[in-house]
């Protein structure tokens, strides 16, 4: 009986260690790859080389890394600020006020979350063309301001906000808008942090929509850069590795700095 237990334990740990190695190894390989030249990368060299400075130099000089990063940060930060404001306000409106027809409109919105992006893509693209926003970062920002997922996420959190505080503030004569901005928002910091991470990641990693909208190199974001570099005729693998590291780094930093919010931001909706 006891030996059987030890054997199962050993299997469990072997499984965990295998999962650990498989999960983490590509990150190591990405770091090693960024220090190697194209041939070494594609031949699967696992050790560090001396090409890092050179790869970064190529990335900056011939692929306009600083411009591309500036684009990505600009779009992502604007999206985060905008969507936190719009989505949390909507969630608050749905949760706190018993206005007529709110349940019906909320249900319609939630249902539309099931519709895949592919089904919106074409009319959305034509709309952007009509608005004259093709090749404009605004097209990426404005379409993601109202996020159904975030409205849902915020509403779940507002459910636990004590109504007595809102009532008390009303009695004290505070206006509805002031109550929201100076009482509710400041006391829900962790919810906002989690939502910010979700919004930032979604925007930073977006591919299909930017691919359709952004057509000139000047407007490119980091995901578009990686994609186009890798489909080049003679891909510079070491440089691509450097670009992958640069694209992954901000999210990794965010992840380790705010780990608990991070998981909450990605999964919060199912927790009660």
């Amino acid at each position: 009986m006891k030996t059987k237990k030890i054997i199962t334990r050993a299997f469990v740990y072997a499984f965990l260690i295998a999962a650990f190695v498989v999960s983490v190894f590509p990150f190591y390989w990405m770091l090693a790859g960024m220090t190697n030249n194209a041939i070494d990368v594609i031949k699967g060299k696992m050790t560090f080389g001396g090409q890092m400075i050179n790869n970064l130099k190529v990335l900056i000089t011939s692929h306009n890394l600083t411009g591309v990063l500036a684009n990505s940060f600009k779009v992502s930060i604007a999206t985060v600020i905008g969507t936190l404001l719009v989505s949390s306000m909507a969630a608050y409106g749905f949760e706190v006020y018993e206005s007529k027809g709110r349940n019906r409109s909320y249900a319609i919105i939630l249902l539309s979350m099931m519709v895949p992006f592919a089904a919106l893509m074409i009319p959305l693209f034509r709309l952007i063309v009509r608005f004259g926003l093709l090749d404009n970062h605004l097209a990426l920002i404005v379409t993601s301001l109202a996020s159904v997922f975030l409205i849902f996420f915020f509403r779940q959190s507002f459910k636990s906000f004590p109504r007595e505080i809102i009532q008390a503030a009303r009695v004290d004569g505070a206006g509805e808008i002031r109550i929201f901005f100076s009482i509710v928002v400041p006391s829900m910091k962790s919810t906002y942090a989690a939502a910010a991470i979700y919004a930032f990641m979604t925007s930073w990693n977006a591919y299909l929509w930017p691919l359709i909208i952004l057509q000139t190199d000047k407007q490119k974001t980091i995901t578009l850069l990686i994609s186009s570099m890798s489909s080049a005729y003679f891909p510079e693998y070491g440089v691509i590795m450097a670009a992958i590291v640069v694209a992954t780094l901000p999210i990794i930093i965010l992840f380790f700095a705010l780990q608990s919010y991070f998981v909450q931001g990605m999964t919060g909706s199912v927790k009660q």
């Binding site: 650990f20 206005s99 319609i108 893509m121 074409i122 009319p123």
Partner: protein, 303 residues
């Protein structure tokens, strides 16, 4: 007097309720609801360049004779049927192992296994494309371990190309799903397991008779999320295939052509036919809806 104040209270509730939701509603109306409806309308038209004419349901009939569409449908289903169960089972196994408090370094394992979920789809796909190249890292390792004699043509053979996509997606999403299960498992009281232990139930029996039924709502949730994700598969096939967006096929012999890639091709690569592309996109909507309903029914959920 009281009646009047109640009336004005309702008025205030109404006014502010709509004020707070108005920005989102306007934006969603323009950028979500309108496109969904417009797309449905477009699916009954045919557009060639700027000429648009109504064709009724002809587009939907055309689907069944369209070889490209059938290939995309087949590929998408292969990914769905094979990848989703493998990933969810792995995630479930890892979550139930890591929920056991006697396991050492749980936090480290959990963080490491979740880590792939922070990478962007394009970045990790390109990384995998390099790892799975013919004389690349994976083949070198497998040959050094004497598991294979000749290098596997991962990205050059239809079968292996699909295997690569499945491996890549499993790497990216297993930890993500595991976190959902872990948070679900934390809500199951320890006493239930202790009672089962006293009754002499084995770990495996506990898993099937306690863990699985208690986690059902979350399993349904993750499988529907994965269904929606798989049916929209775009970044991975596009970036794993030779030439990416501009390549002549998506994967060897179009083995990676998915519904979303086909919709993209219909709009932006071939002679644009938005009407027909909208038809294909509504097929995706229909499949997602059907599969979600089936999954709810299978789980016996009423909501």
């Amino acid at each position: 007097m009281e009646r009047a104040s109640k009336k004005s209270f309702i008025k205030i509730q109404n006014r502010y309720g709509w004020f707070f939701v108005s920005f989102a509603l306007v934006l969603l109306g323009i950028f979500l609801i309108y496109p969904i409806l417009n797309s449905l309308y477009l699916s009954t038209t045919s557009t060639k360049g700027i000429v648009q004419k109504s064709v009724g349901l002809t587009n939907y009939v055309k689907l069944f004779k369209d070889q490209m569409f059938l290939t995309a449908l087949k590929n998408t289903f292969i990914f769905f049927i094979i990848q989703v169960p493998i990933m969810l089972l792995l995630a479930l196994a890892l979550a139930s192992i890591l929920n056991d408090k006697s396991i050492k370094l749980r936090g480290v394992f959990r963080t490491a296994i979740f880590l792939p979920a922070v990478t962007s789809l394009v970045a990790y796909t390109v990384l995998f494309k390099m790892m799975f190249s013919l004389d690349g890292f994976i083949n070198t390792i497998l040959m050094n371990l004497h598991i294979i004699k000749d290098p596997i043509p991962w990205l050059m053979h239809p079968f292996w190309a699909r295997v690569t996509v499945i491996i890549a997606m499993t790497w990216r999403w297993t930890g993500y799903n595991m976190v959902f299960y872990l948070s679900g498992l934390q809500n199951i009281p320890d006493e239930i397991y202790e009672a089962a232990e006293i009754d002499g139930a084995s770990k495996l029996q506990q898993f099937f008779h306690i863990t699985l039924p208690m986690l059902k709502p979350i399993i349904v949730f993750t499988s529907i999320m994965s269904t929606i994700g798989t049916l929209q598969l775009f970044d991975e096939p596009m970036n794993l295939s030779q030439g990416g967006v501009t390549g002549s096929t998506t994967g060897p012999g179009n083995s990676l052509l998915t519904m979303s890639v086909y919709i993209y091709n219909l709009c932006f690569k071939f002679m644009p036919n938005f009407g027909y592309a909208a038809t294909v996109s509504y097929v995706v909507v229909f499949i997602v809806a059907t599969l979600s309903i089936i999954q709810f029914r299978l789980a016996g959920e009423r909501k």
